[in-house]
Point group: C2
Chain length 374, copies 2
Amino acid sequence: MLNRSVSRRRFLASSVAAIGAASLARFGSSLSLAADVASPARKLGFAFVGIGNFATHELLPGIANCKYCEPVALVSGHLDNAKRVAAKYKIDPKFIYNYDNYDSIRDNPAIDVVYIVLPNGMHAEYTVRAFAAGKHVMCEKPMANTVAECQQMIDAGKGAGKKLQIGYRMHWDAATLACIDALRKNEIGKLEIIETATGFSIGDPKQWRLNRKLAGGGCMMDIGIYSLSAARYLSGEEPTEVFANTYQDTSDPRFKEVEQHCDFQLKFPSGVQASCLSSYATPLNRYVVHGSKGYCVLEPGQAYHGIKFSKTEKGVLKPVDVVGVDQFVGEMDGFALALAGKAPFMATGEEGLQDMRIIEAIYASARSGASVKL
Amino acid sequence: MLNRSVSRRRFLASSVAAIGAASLARFGSSLSLAADVASPARKLGFAFVGIGNFATHELLPGIANCKYCEPVALVSGHLDNAKRVAAKYKIDPKFIYNYDNYDSIRDNPAIDVVYIVLPNGMHAEYTVRAFAAGKHVMCEKPMANTVAECQQMIDAGKGAGKKLQIGYRMHWDAATLACIDALRKNEIGKLEIIETATGFSIGDPKQWRLNRKLAGGGCMMDIGIYSLSAARYLSGEEPTEVFANTYQDTSDPRFKEVEQHCDFQLKFPSGVQASCLSSYATPLNRYVVHGSKGYCVLEPGQAYHGIKFSKTEKGVLKPVDVVGVDQFVGEMDGFALALAGKAPFMATGEEGLQDMRIIEAIYASARSGASVKL
């Protein structure tokens, strides 16, 4: 348990470094809290809204390993499936809700946090309704389809006096944090160029990710956001200008409504430039940070498990062994600790809003063919 | 010798595929000539103009291994150095010229080809003078500082009835050609995204590469041109639109006059997008082509020797063994064979002009912050 406690303290302290200078200043005074990892009085009860593949195969197994969180309710349109999942995770079948009685979660004191795992276009509505029900909210990325929706979600949380966290798992990934730590310690010298690339070859043309109304866009919204987020946490800066190109072959049944590629460049105040790729047509998964004295690689750069960090030593790229908590445990226990006042809030609504602001600029740039200042 | 002959035929045939659809059409009728590799009547005599590191350590050792070319003259401002080099390569010391008597090469029938290895800003002048002296010309890349100079060089060659080849070594590199061959055979499916990155950390702030007048620009001119050229030969297409960002930290003594980073994106007619990086501040050397069914990697993507080609097989990246001629032997013997009518002309002045046209658009885009149509 000692090792686990040490690594948890380490990940929390490091995580703060990941979220940029602005957040650092904001959370600097809370850093000492992260060292005092006390258990909250009882485990936080999570209700999962939407129990598709991601919730079933990643979030629920993740929360099962949490120290401070447990699943207590499900919201689903598929009762049979919900019953199976409830049985597996010892969730009281009385606490299975559907989309008609969703708002009645307000009457269930066992639910502390609502985790929204719905299509992007439904995030804002279901988040606002969860806040109205008096619950804290975790919401998957992208936070919503538009900046306006993100702002609405933030405002609703503030109005309700409840907290919002976005599902930026990588903010808790141990290899990612070790890479950020190496960069901040100038282990590869002055940062010069960042390359981030995320993509996969998407399947079924009928899935919601390819429906503009539900997804808000194509690869940029779903997988490109990892490249964007990574460029920000790897540089530790906020971009000042963006240029983007998109491509969409509408003769491919998958890309009738949304882009298949979105490539974008970001300029940062220090002079670092990021070149970021995203695709729904080909697998991409590699982040590289080039410095004046060497380079760091995260490959895969994003994944549910198994991020690998390598760093040059005297010009030779070598794997770096990293130990840390599971991303899903990290994000959910991290939220619990923050709610208990034992850790800083990370991956906040403002973080999600900032990515969405940049994504809107990326799409505007791709439409106009001109760079957009941020 | 049989093996060598076979690999030579293979490289010449493949090379034609490397230089794009336009060139293919032009040279298609010459393809059969490539199969008939007969020795020219005598070795072509080369005069090297500028005997710095590159000429001394790469070109002269390269030509020493050529079957159809030999060094016969040197043009240098440093007589002692020229004498040492002449002795090593058995060049008649009478055939050492300087920049004052350069034009008298016209009176030396042993010189067939003048190889210009001077700073970029001197390429046009010395090429035009070589044509005026009745010689064929090889000229290092970038072809010149401007499109106007490139056109002047092409016109001078046509006026003199002499041929011009630009030092695009990679057009003859065996691993590069094997990669292009795999791409054209659709071994990774439909091409989607190309990443090319070339850079190094430049040293002495006083070198000509950092002098705008002599170099014409910074990393883009010198090393970024490899990324550009690669995006063109890997896609097999000509870009229709370009967007670029440059960065220059003028507080670094190396970057008083020229950019340290130039990142650019190219759009191709098929929908392929290329994301290209170049830097004088950090090492970069990797080309990746992502297709619908897999990907190919050239890493290093450009180097004097040792380009490595890998390709996915069922999702796993595997090195591909490639045998072929040395790049320097390839480009010089390739020029000799073309002059003898035994192979198509490749890496022509028009090829250099096309890169320069795109480079001018890249710089224009970086200045304006808007994409530039080509």
